[in-house]
Symmetry: C2
Subunit: 254 residues, 2 copies
């Protein structure tokens, strides 16, 4: 563990998200998983199933971040082009990965064997390693600092689980939440000044409506447990002085 801040980019690939047909669930699960690894999610891009668009996003986000994750587009059909796009971005050829082929042969042995389409899932950019898939046949793919995962959320979750603890991160971001039926506009000055007075902390303000009332959760984030505790104490005292009732942990919006 170091003081350095590690960041990751995420590319969500798929026309089904952009059409509104499928509600993405990978952004939140990758974000939460990264937090635990001590890595911050720096940016997410959702891009269509177009090789050049995926490749552009890969090159932009891998340059800006320590790691890059992708979800989607590694299946057997013609619209699964993530491997081709990443290979194009890296300027390396695509090849059939012998270990991936062996995994798929075993997986499909009692399901009709390896067809041309299924063999598509053994293709990787040259030089890649595999990420274990504990849920179904086709593995995820790692090449350098790029991690290609399935789009189906529970398969992606299994791949994240397989990666847990294998990637270097920094001090994890810790957070503390104070919430109450407090209109955020009435404490905006308090929030700003409290953040300013605590250099290693950020305060986010998240309004909600519940049971016909307005409220807010104030989330303080820091990589320092001590700084976090001091900032949370200062904000709680400030809310007390202003006469607002609040609870630690915040209020569930619905």
């Amino acid at each position: 563990m170091t003081d350095r801040i590690f960041t990751a980019g995420l590319i969500v690939i798929g026309d089904e998200i952009l059409s509104g047909r499928t509600h993405d669930r990978n952004i939140a699960q990758v974000a939460s998983w990264l937090q635990v690894q001590g890595i911050r999610l720096g940016e997410v891009r959702v891009v269509p199933d177009v090789t050049a668009r995926i490749a552009d996003a890969v090159n932009a986000l891998r340059a800006q971040n320590d790691y890059l994750f992708t979800t989607g587009g590694i299946g057997p059909t013609h619209d699964d082009i993530t491997v081709d796009a990443v290979a194009e971005a890296l300027g390396v050829p695509v090849e059939v990965h012998p270990e991936a082929r062996a995994i798929l042969e075993r997986h499909y042995a009692d399901k009709g064997g390896l067809s041309e389409a299924r063999l598509r899932m053994a293709r990787t950019p040259q030089g890649a390693e595999l990420i274990a898939n504990r849920m179904s046949g086709a593995p995820g793919i790692r090449i350098g600092n790029i991690f290609m995962m399935a789009g189906v959320p529970h398969i992606a979750a299994g791949m994240l689980d397989a990666l847990t603890g294998t990637i270097e991160g920094g001090a994890p971001l810790v957070s503390e939440t104070l919430g109450g039926f407090i209109p955020e506009s009435e404490v905006a000055v308090l929030l700003r000044e409290t953040e300013r007075a605590h250099a290693h902390c950020q305060i986010g303000s998240y309004p909600f409506f519940k049971d016909g009332r307005v409220g807010s959760n104030f989330v303080i984030r820091s990589t320092s447990v001590e700084a976090l505790a001091q900032c949370a104490k200062a904000l709680g005292d400030g809310l007390d002085r202003a006469g607002f009732a609040w609870v630690p942990g915040g209020i569930a919006p619905r």
Copy 2:
């Protein structure tokens, strides 16, 4: 209605999405709403509460698309910086919008009046118009082809509703879904060839697991109702010939 294809970009602003604390619900609702307007969502970026990062994304996505939507960061607190970022991207100053100020004065008349923090929600890039907020006080903001909306999903939904029919779109994308307990790897060739044979159609394949069985939904998209019907007929006939049972409308994954 024209034959031209209109596209929109979407920027989701907020550390709370990148931290995994809040599950985004705006991508799907903006995507679905755009479909009905005859506009395609071309790309989404989720960026942190950092002015320069938001401004960079604004300039990238407004150059690539006919329209740009943003959600989040237009509230009263110090972390609400979307207006400043858009103004920076456009190279225009920020000013207090007289109509927005009047709306907020009325809204807060019986709630303690306009404080400095609340007045923050009347700030817009110079030259902006307002988007009606039917749910709460602060309006959304339109400047040119950029639409800034609230981050709270039901407030954003109200703003989208206010914009319905006011933005030029092309022919809406229509779709038809065929689904069954069919492993996508067994029909990959059929999907690819059917798509190739129907120039104005795209076929997406979305695998799922349900009740312990593998299945797929095949979504055909087109701007031509006739081309869509022909392609759906061809795919259905192909699945029949291959001996796969399928249902129109697809199967709900869970």
